[in-house]
């Protein structure tokens, strides 16, 4: 399936890179919005590159998860939402979160487990959210966000609010019972929800053929009585188009759509994964022939008539924002140990320290940094 995805993706590119006919929604985007899409993709990529540096400096606590080569799918789909809509990202949806208003400094602090990070050091990497801006923090257990987001969408329906939910799952996560129960519930209730399956060819090391016998993930739609469509996830405009269509349908009361976005995970599951299981040449082929940023740049400078200087200006802005965010993040401190006891419940607002910790402000004075221990270690490993 990975190979198949590769072929498919490649096919879209051959001869058509940057030239696929524009759908009506994509065609309606003004020049600002066209450039904005580039900004988000570039920001996603560069921010992850910065995280790689920080990770190598052991400033990232836990694993680092990349979306290299999948930026279009994340950005293009989230770009189809309106203010008030809510999405639930997955580990490769940094781009979606940025579009929805997450800031680079939040991401960096979060990865560095800082005390003023969005989860105050409680949760990993990009596992955080903000209902106001419109994204809900995922948990690790794959599939669980589907029923949860179905419930968010149900609240929109019950309150007759014209808002839409977008939930992302990976090809692997479609195998979970939670995915099934959630999407079926949403379909029956006809809530305003879009489900995106990001088919990036792998779930950790598992190729799609070992995940499902279905020919395509879009085929699963029929079993839930909802439309199922496939699009080229490495074409940011195609991604935007298909999502916008589904979002509009949902907003109009048309219920749930299942969208499969074809892409490819060019890095390992996390930085520690050496991708030994990937057939030789596959990654290189995708990088050379089907990089979503390259493809969009070609289109921007060709079809849409932007100049290299236009793009360079965006690049410079991105770089400057990331530098500023890094400085800010590095300055923030580690969480105060006693904060660990705050806010499990609304009432009581905090747990009492255990008797052997009364009056103790932190458990150990110098936090031992666990040394390496193979694939999982604090400095060089970690898992979503």
């Amino acid at each position: 399936m990975a190979a198949k995805a590769a072929t498919k993706g490649a096919k879209t590119v051959n001869g058509t890179a940057g030239k696929a006919a524009l759908g009506p929604h994509a065609a309606a985007l003004g020049r600002d919005r066209q450039l904005e899409l580039y900004y988000w993709m570039r920001l996603t990529r560069q921010l992850e590159e910065r995280l790689v540096n920080l990770y190598r400096q052991t400033k990232v606590v836990g694993g680092l998860f990349r979306s290299l080569g999948q930026e279009a799918d994340a950005v293009g789909s989230a770009f189809a939402l309106e203010k008030g809509d809510i999405l639930s990202p997955l580990i490769r949806n940094l781009g979606s979160m940025l579009v929805k208003g997450a800031t680079p400094v939040e991401i960096l602090k979060q990865y560095m487990a800082r005390g003023d990070s969005p989860t105050r050091g409680r949760e990993l990497n990009i596992h955080f959210g903000d209902l106001e801006r419109g994204f809900v923090g995922q948990i690790s257990h794959l599939g669980d966000m589907v029923p949860v987001m179905a419930g968010v969408a149900l609240s929109f329906k019950l309150r007759k609010e014209k808002r839409v939910v977008l939930v992302y799952v990976g090809d692997g996560a479609t195998s979970t019972g939670a995915f099934h129960e959630g999407i079926n519930f949403a379909a029956v209730q006809q809530v305003p929800m879009v489900v995106i399956v990001e088919n990036n060819g792998y779930a950790y090391s598992t190729p799609t053929a070992k995940q499902t016998r279905a020919k395509s993930f879009a085929d699963k739609g029929i079993g839930y009585g909802i439309p199922g469509v496939t699009a080229d996830g490495n074409d940011v405009l195609a991604t935007y188009e298909v999502t916008r269509e589904a979002v509009n349908r949902a907003r109009a009361g048309g219920g749930v759509t299942l969208i499969e976005l074809m892409s490819y995970r060019r890095k390992g599951h996390a930085e520690h994964d050496n991708q030994s299981y990937v057939p030789p040449g596959e990654i290189e082929r995708w990088a050379a022939e089907n990089d979503p940023v390259d493809r969009y740049v070609a289109r921007l400078t060709g079809e849409f008539g932007f100049t290299p200087a236009d793009l360079a200006a965006v690049d410079a802005r991105v770089q400057q924002e990331i530098d500023a965010a890094t400085d800010a993040a590095e300055q923030s401190g580690v969480p105060e140990a006693l904060d660990a006891l705050e806010g499990i419940y609304a009432d009581p607002p905090r747990e009492r320290p255990l008797w052997f910790r009364e009056g103790v402000r932190s458990a150990v004075d110098a936090h031992e940094r666990p040394e390496g221990w193979g694939t999982f270690n604090a400095a060089r490993g970690g898992h979503a």
Partner: protein, 324 residues
């Protein structure tokens, strides 16, 4: 005022809360037209309509998860599990998503998950469970398990108003056997407070739900034998009312923990540990447990009766404590 059953008390609470707060709505299997397997929600569809009384597919993880999402948005969902035994299918969602939402993501889950629980009804291994232990173990969840009709109503109202997820276990043996007169007005029983079901001086029985009545019956028999038994009905299992537990230990110095759940890993262990920590010096005897045997609950009457705690067991255990 007329007496109503434990079951009707729950229905009354649901109905009153739905009237009071438009955010309250119900989800579950067959709760609409059919009124639920035990008819707890009977009449509520007619009263509140399809948007607020939602029949779901057979998807416990699906609709409990959906409840969490709706709760984040300020709704107040109440989920019925057709039997509490099926809460196992929502275990992941409840313990990983719901219980942690406030802590890791600052998202509230004001929701209730309720369902008919417990044995003594020849329901067999999958229609008689008492799954409280698995959830008491999970920080972030609250657990209540009322024994009286008054508490069933008052705790349900408190559960619906709570800002966090409350698992509300209803004992199906009590549904139509137990009755009470509801206090007038907005009757809310606070979560986290135990109740002295009977005062006594020689031995304390700490228990909850159906076995409260086994304890009371035993206490009656023991009174005739000159042993004065205090019965504590915990009502809330998480958070535990440690104050009430300590108070009764300091009064009688001898404790029996009684529960219908299986023995190993049941809540009696936790209570025993707390007593050890908080008031060991006041103990004049070991904390003893009367519980179900460690087997899946069998179906035939002779087997079920053997496995579950009976009045005679409680009497025996109290006599042993009294004589200690």
């Amino acid at each position: 005022m007329a007496e109503i059953t434990y079951l009707e008390a729950i229905r009354e609470a649901l109905s009153e809360e739905m009237e009071r707060d438009p955010n309250v709505f119900l989800m579950g299997e067959d709760i609409g037209a059919y009124g639920g397997a035990f008819k707890v929600t009977e009449g509520l569809l007619a009263k509140f309509g399809e948007a607020r009384v939602i029949d779901t597919p057979i998807s416990e993880a699906g609709f409990v998860g959906a409840a969490a999402g709706a709760a984040h948005m300020g709704m107040r969902p109440v989920c019925e599990l057709q039997f509490i035994d099926f809460i196992s299918c929502a275990y992941d969602i409840l313990t990983n998503y719901v219980a942690t939402a406030r802590y890791r993501a600052f998202l509230g889950c004001p929701m209730v998950v309720r369902g008919p629980s417990g044995g003594y009804v020849r329901g067999g291994p999958f229609h008689s469970q008492n799954p409280e232990a698995a959830f008491i173990h999970t920080p972030g969840l609250k657990v209540v398990y009322p024994a009286t009709a008054e508490d069933a109503k008052g705790l349900m109202k408190a559960a619906i108003r709570d800002e966090d997820c409350v698992l509300f276990f209803e004992h199906k043996y009590l549904y139509r056997r137990i009755k009470g007169v509801m206090p007038a007005g907005d009757h809310v029983v606070p979560i986290g407070k135990a109740r002295v079901a009977r005062e006594g001086t020689d031995v304390s029985i700490i228990t909850y739900a159906a076995t409260v009545y086994k304890a009371l019956e035993a206490a009656e028999q023991l009174a005739a034998q000159g042993v004065s038994v205090e019965v504590i009905d915990l009502r809330t299992l998480a958070p535990l009312d440690e104050e009430a537990i300590v108070a009764t230990v300091k009064k009688t110095h001898k404790v029996l923990v009684l529960h219908e759940d299986t023995r190993t890993g049941g809540i009696a262990g936790e209570i025993t540990a707390r007593i050890n920590e908080a008031c060991f010096e006041w103990l004049d005897a070991p904390v003893l447990r009367v519980t179900a045997a460690d087997v899946p609950l069998p179906y035939a009457p002779s087997l079920e009766d053997y496995v579950l705690p009976q009045v005679a067991d409680v009497v025996l255990a109290c006599r042993r404590l009294a004589a200690y």
